[in-house]
């Protein structure tokens, strides 16, 4: 019909404009493009210079996607700018609410003596390494200074149950104060479950306290990693898990693993153990560079390479399970996917920019010392107090939060100002980890070209993108994970 115009009338000019984006070589033939909103697109190496020189023809098979993912626009279009701004604002929307996670180290005493832990002390008499009521009160003053409408208080140690009286005090005192403050208050206890009792569970149930425990793998691996008198950490964990689930509810107890050398060949066994014990996900954590590893300079890229194999094998197994109808999530992957496939930020302290230290999480030690993160505390136990921000007994909230130590670390590790990071295509998915880099290189930025942090994350990003583009079912599963966590 003559009244209708053909498609040519509605597009095809050659005057498109570039929107801000980054790119990196993905493989020999392709580049990956990303933008502030974390959208990504693969382009052939031949086409990229043409695109940037504004010579790409509108008939190019990716032209429409370049527009709809907001890599280019026409000058008269306003919606791309509004949408990019909206997505960027969403991405950074966790920043204004400020600190959410407040860690209370109520004691250093522990019934375990895990070699990878820097902080635990033997079960000496009470008091020497316990948090006092005065510390707890001041810590709570600090907590409620955070403007965040959602506050999470997590008890750590040593073994928090060894100072359960203090846990109870903090919980009841926080709830009491919260009647005025009106926040969404959540409590977690990080415990081995070896010392769990009906008494403890009754209190947890009454106050809706979640339990976060440790499961490193099947019995032999777990017990080798986590020695205690009686060599029965795993058995006690399993018994405690059952009790806790029955009392508090199945999903109120979660488990985290610590990855050691011993773990690296046994990822399927570890996942099977999580399955056996009824968990619906696992967090395949990276090897920790702290303590023993740093002291012996053992932590080299060899280990980073082996860890990557461990991760890929674990992820492949989990995808097999998911495709076979057994829902199971790898949680680190889910966090990364949230950044890749949505505009939201999962708020994971170790993969944020600006770094999560202080502004997302903070640690109150038993002795009143305030640390920028849990790793900062571990570093201090090894003799390096670079991330100790102050002490509750002597310093005010302002002095601690506005301390140079914190602000400088945040400033200097800011990825968008960092060499290599600022122009890296994977920056939207990545984060700053000043404590890690300081521990490794005595410098909050480190040299990313040599940093296992960078190698590991970049390898993961590429791996996930490759998996998604090669298999639609995997893409569907990943999309589910990204929107679920």
């Amino acid at each position: 019909m003559s009244k209708f115009q053909g498609q040519e009338s509605y597009g095809n000019q050659l005057n498109y404009e570039l929107l801000p984006f980054s790119f990196d070589r993905f493989n020999d033939d392709e580049y990956i493009l990303t933008n502030l909103a974390g959208e990504h697109l693969m382009m052939s190496a031949a086409d990229l210079p043409t695109l940037i020189n504004r010579g790409l023809d509108p008939s190019h098979h990716q032209f429409a996607s370049l527009r709809s993912k907001h890599f280019i626009r026409y000058p008269e279009e306003q919606a791309p700018l509004s949408l990019l701004a909206l997505k960027v604002r969403t991405r950074y929307s966790r920043l204004p609410p400020f600190t959410n996670l407040h860690i209370f180290v109520v004691t250093l005493r522990c019934d375990h003596s895990c070699p990878y832990c820097q902080v635990s002390r033997q079960m000496e008499g009470e008091g020497a390494f316990d948090m006092t009521q005065e510390m707890a009160d001041r810590a709570l003053d600090f907590v409620f200074r955070s403007p965040n409408p959602a506050i999470k208080i997590e008890f750590q140690g040593g073994e928090p149950l060894l100072n359960f009286d203090m846990v109870k005090y903090v919980v009841t005192e926080a709830e009491s104060r919260n009647q005025q403050m009106g926040r969404d208050l959540q409590f977690v206890i990080a415990t081995t479950l070896s010392l769990i009792s009906e008494n403890v569970l009754a209190f947890c149930k009454e106050h809706s306290i979640l339990l976060s425990s440790s499961l490193d793998g099947p019995k032999d691996l777990h017990n080798a990693n986590r020695p205690r008198p009686g060599k029965d950490s795993h058995q006690r964990f399993e018994a405690g898990l059952k009790l806790a689930r029955e009392s508090l509810g199945y999903d109120q107890v979660s488990a985290l693993m610590t990855t050691t050398d011993r773990s690296l060949d046994r990822v399927r066994d570890i996942i099977d153990e999580y399955l056996r014990l009824g968990f619906n996900g696992i967090f395949l954590r990276a090897l920790s560079p702290y303590g023993f590893a740093i002291k012996t300079k053992k932590f080299m890229s060899y280990d980073a390479g082996r860890w990557l194999e461990f991760y890929k094998e674990g992820l492949a197994y989990i995808l097999e399970l998911s495709k076979a109808g057994i829902p199971f999530i790898e949680q680190y992957t889910a966090l990364v996917l949230k950044k890749m496939l949505t505009s939201e930020d999962p708020g994971y302290v170790d993969l944020m920019n600006p770094a999560g230290i202080g502004i997302a999480a903070i640690v109150f030690n038993y002795d009143g010392a305030v640390y920028a993160s849990d790793e900062s505390r571990m570093l201090a136990e090894m003799g390096d107090e670079s991330f100790k921000l102050g002490n509750l007994l002597t310093d005010s909230y302002e002095q601690i939060i506005l301390s140079d130590r914190l602000l400088d670390a945040l400033d200097e590790s800011f990825t968008l100002s960092a060499p290599m990071c600022s122009e890296c295509a994977f920056e939207p998915f990545c984060g700053a980890d000043p404590v890690y880099h300081h521990a490794m290189y005595k410098d909050v930025l480190g040299r990313k070209a040599e940093s296992p942090f960078c190698q590991r994350n970049m390898a993961i990003f590429k791996h996930l993108i490759e998996l998604m583009r090669n298999d639609r079912q995997t893409r569907d599963i990943f999309m589910e994970w990204a929107n679920g966590c």
């Binding site: 570039l18 929107l19 700018l81 960027v88 950074y92 040299r447 070209a449």
Partner: protein, 97 residues
């Protein structure tokens, strides 16, 4: 110790692109950068721990990276204004900007 010398015409390549590319290759080599007339003379000296094959690969990547950083510079310059505009709009309601 592995070593390679590359010449970059100043009319075509900027010092910044060369330096950024060299920063990226630090895991394999260090850069010695000199100006010679209208050209940059780059001597890449392999790290003590870098094997020859790894060094060769790093040199190849270095050459590609120099081009990439040139392109990034162009891209950044062209999109500076609109980048600021987007960030401005994004934070316009926070009272911080």
């Amino acid at each position: 110790m592995n070593s390679v010398n590359l010449i970059f015409d100043q009319r075509l390549y900027g010092a910044e692109a060369i330096q950024k590319a060299a920063y990226r290759g630090q895991h394999a080599f260090t850069l010695d950068l000199q100006v010679e007339g209208e050209a940059f003379s780059c001597t890449l000296l392999g790290n003590i721990t870098t094997a020859p094959a790894a060094f060769d690969k790093a040199v190849e990547d270095f050459k590609k990276d120099v081009l990439d950083y040139q392109l990034r510079s162009k891209l950044r310059a062209e999109t500076e204004a609109v980048r600021n505009l987007i960030l401005g709009v994004a934070f316009s309601k926070t009272g911080l900007v």
